[in-house]
Symmetry: C2
Subunit: 342 residues, 2 copies
DNA sequence: CTGAAAGCGCTTACAG
DNA sequence: CTGAAAGCGCTTACAG
């Protein structure tokens, strides 16, 4: 591999001047720039990114941290990663994946290596020990999600309030008055005070209060298997619930299978809205699910932008909350024995 | 951040000696080792990985290359990535994600930066231009998948032959004689001569010849939507097909929805086997799918090991072909109008 | 067993 | 506009 020294020699200039044209960081006469560019082309020069990182004190590498053991990555999680990696690349950054546990020590160890300029933190808990670690190490970071008190922190997150509102509104509008939310199970260790669960439930209760209906909230672990089980529980404990908003891609497909197994027809007996799922999910189910999609792609991009802004030393970007798209399907209809409201 | 120089000063030794204990690369007396370790602890020393990379000429970073635009990452793709990242970490390596197109120039550009010690190449085509690039750049690499002529190359791949055989055997054993394979669509540009499609179809035809049945092969783009469509096409063009082996996670769920929409019962009218899907998929469908799982986790680990072996300069690891697990579900049964063979 | 020193390939004040 | 030189924080022959 040709180095800057090789290029400089061939072009008859100093390596500093080569650096100036490679990085376009100082004015250089057209003629010497041309000589240097020719030399680079002839030698097939490629700037060594490690040497640059050491000298410039920035690696142009970002880390994506997610607790892989504890949280299965959903389709939207995948979209998020791919989107973040792509946004990073288009800014000449790299993205490393750190599937570390939700444990602060390992994260501190990794950040301490000095390999990355900043960190994207996925699956944030309301009280997340990793935030303190990052702050004390003085490492720039952006949360995907947010803590209980995120003021002053950079974050992008799903707008749970608006998301749940749209799902409930849809059910309400077609006539449902007995609406249940199926959220996640906070008793699972790494999901204690898990932001999405808490925020969805809060939003749901708030909306129920506004609308004067009795909120039914069930909690289940994530996974198709558990979705199947919760379908049975719902039918047993809340047979009157005619509309269901459910979070989690694998869980909702399990729910449909479970409802069918329990002899309950969708949407004739029960209407189901899949909240924050992939758009594709409607095609995978019968009937096609009414879906509020997850804004994974958008959040991935926004998160990287916020982090890059922070790295540039510029004015931090304001937090962003995003909602997915509402895609009507065939899993929702008027409740049984009730005429839809005009 | 404390540097080796700081540690050396505090311990009253040279930085070389500090390096020897940090890397455990030369014998050091117990007493001076102890002094150095104390100094490191007191200063909270963490070795700077960028400086090490420059000096030692290895970054200990691996790249995972996948054409994100062209190929949607499936659940097993994610399992693969997470598994690879974890195996890398447990060997003190990092994994960067390069969602680059299937285009050789961009890959050459990235590798030329010298950021990574080696490359994992996903979604390999039978004639893959990226292989030549990597060879000419002299960059160690491992294929996930393989080209038409992979001899001499390091690779890990799914054992398509055995996978398809297991799926067909299962259908055959319960009495099916009209068996169809639903594979991918090679007319889609980035899937031309895509290894998995070609190999599955070849295997299927070979098995059909052995068993003396007429192989039906349909091709469809990947995605739930297309799965739905292919269900209709299958019913129209091959109504006699009583058993179906289908590849692709989103596609199979679409197929089930489409079959139901077409009024065909699973497994009473048609038996369906999901080949190389996530184990979880059975829970998401009604009936639960009979599934041959994808060995994503195992392959991720094997691929990284093969690459690390190559980097170590040791004897290359032999290629590995892996099959998933066969998980009987409820989507397969004896064909209609035919008693199962004793 | 330990140290002095060169060097990895760049960037970046500083001078001119 | 261009160059000489220090320095980023390590590793690694080479000596002793």
């Amino acid at each position: 591999m040709a180095t800057m020294r090789d290029v400089a020699e061939r072009a008859g200039v100093s390596i500093a001047t080569v650096s100036f044209v490679v990085n376009n960081t100082k004015p250089v006469t057209d003629s010497t720039r041309k000589r240097i560019e020719e030399a680079m082309a002839e030698l097939g020069f490629r700037r060594n990114s490690v040497a640059r990182a050491l000298a410039s004190r920035q690696t142009r590498i970002l880390a994506l941290v997610y607790p892989a053991l504890e949280h299965h990555l959903s389709t939207s999680g995948i979209e998020f990663i791919t989107s973040a990696a792509r946004e990073a690349r288009s800014n000449d950054y790299h993205l490393v994946v750190w599937p570390v546990s939700n444990d602060a020590a390992e994260l501190a160890d990794l950040v301490g290596q000095g390999l990355v300029d900043g960190v994207l933190l996925m699956e944030v808990q309301l009280a997340d020990p990793r935030v303190g670690v990052l702050q004390s190490l003085d490492s720039p970071f952006v949360l995907i999600g947010r803590t209980a008190e995120p003021s002053g922190l950079d974050y992008v997150d799903i707008d749970f309030d608006e998301s749940i509102r749209r799902c409930v509104d849809h059910l309400w509008d077609v006539g449902h008055r007995n609406i249940a939310l199926i959220s996640g199970d906070q008793r699972v260790p790494s999901f204690e005070r898990y932001g999405p669960y808490v925020r969805m439930e809060d939003a749901f209760r708030r909306i129920a209060a506004e609308r004067h209906f009795e909120p039914v909230v069930l909690n289940t672990r994530s996974g198709a298997k558990y979705g199947r089980e919760i379908a049975l529980e719902l039918s047993r404990t809340h047979p009157q619930a005619s509309g269901v908003v459910i979070f989690g891609e694998p869980t909702v497909t399990g729910l449909l299978a479970g409802l069918r197994a329990a002899g309950r027809r969708v949407p004739d007996d029960v209407s189901v809205v899949a909240a924050l799922a992939a758009a594709d999910i409607a095609y995978t189910t019968d009937p096609p699910l009414t879906t509020l999609t997850s804004p994974g792609v958008e959040l991935g991009q926004l998160a990287v932008r916020a982090l890059l802004r922070r790295l540039s030393g510029g004015e931090p970007l304001p937090p962003e909350l995003r909602c997915g798209e509402f895609l009507p399907g065939e899993s929702t209809a008027a409740p049984p024995h009730v005429a839809p409201s005009a």
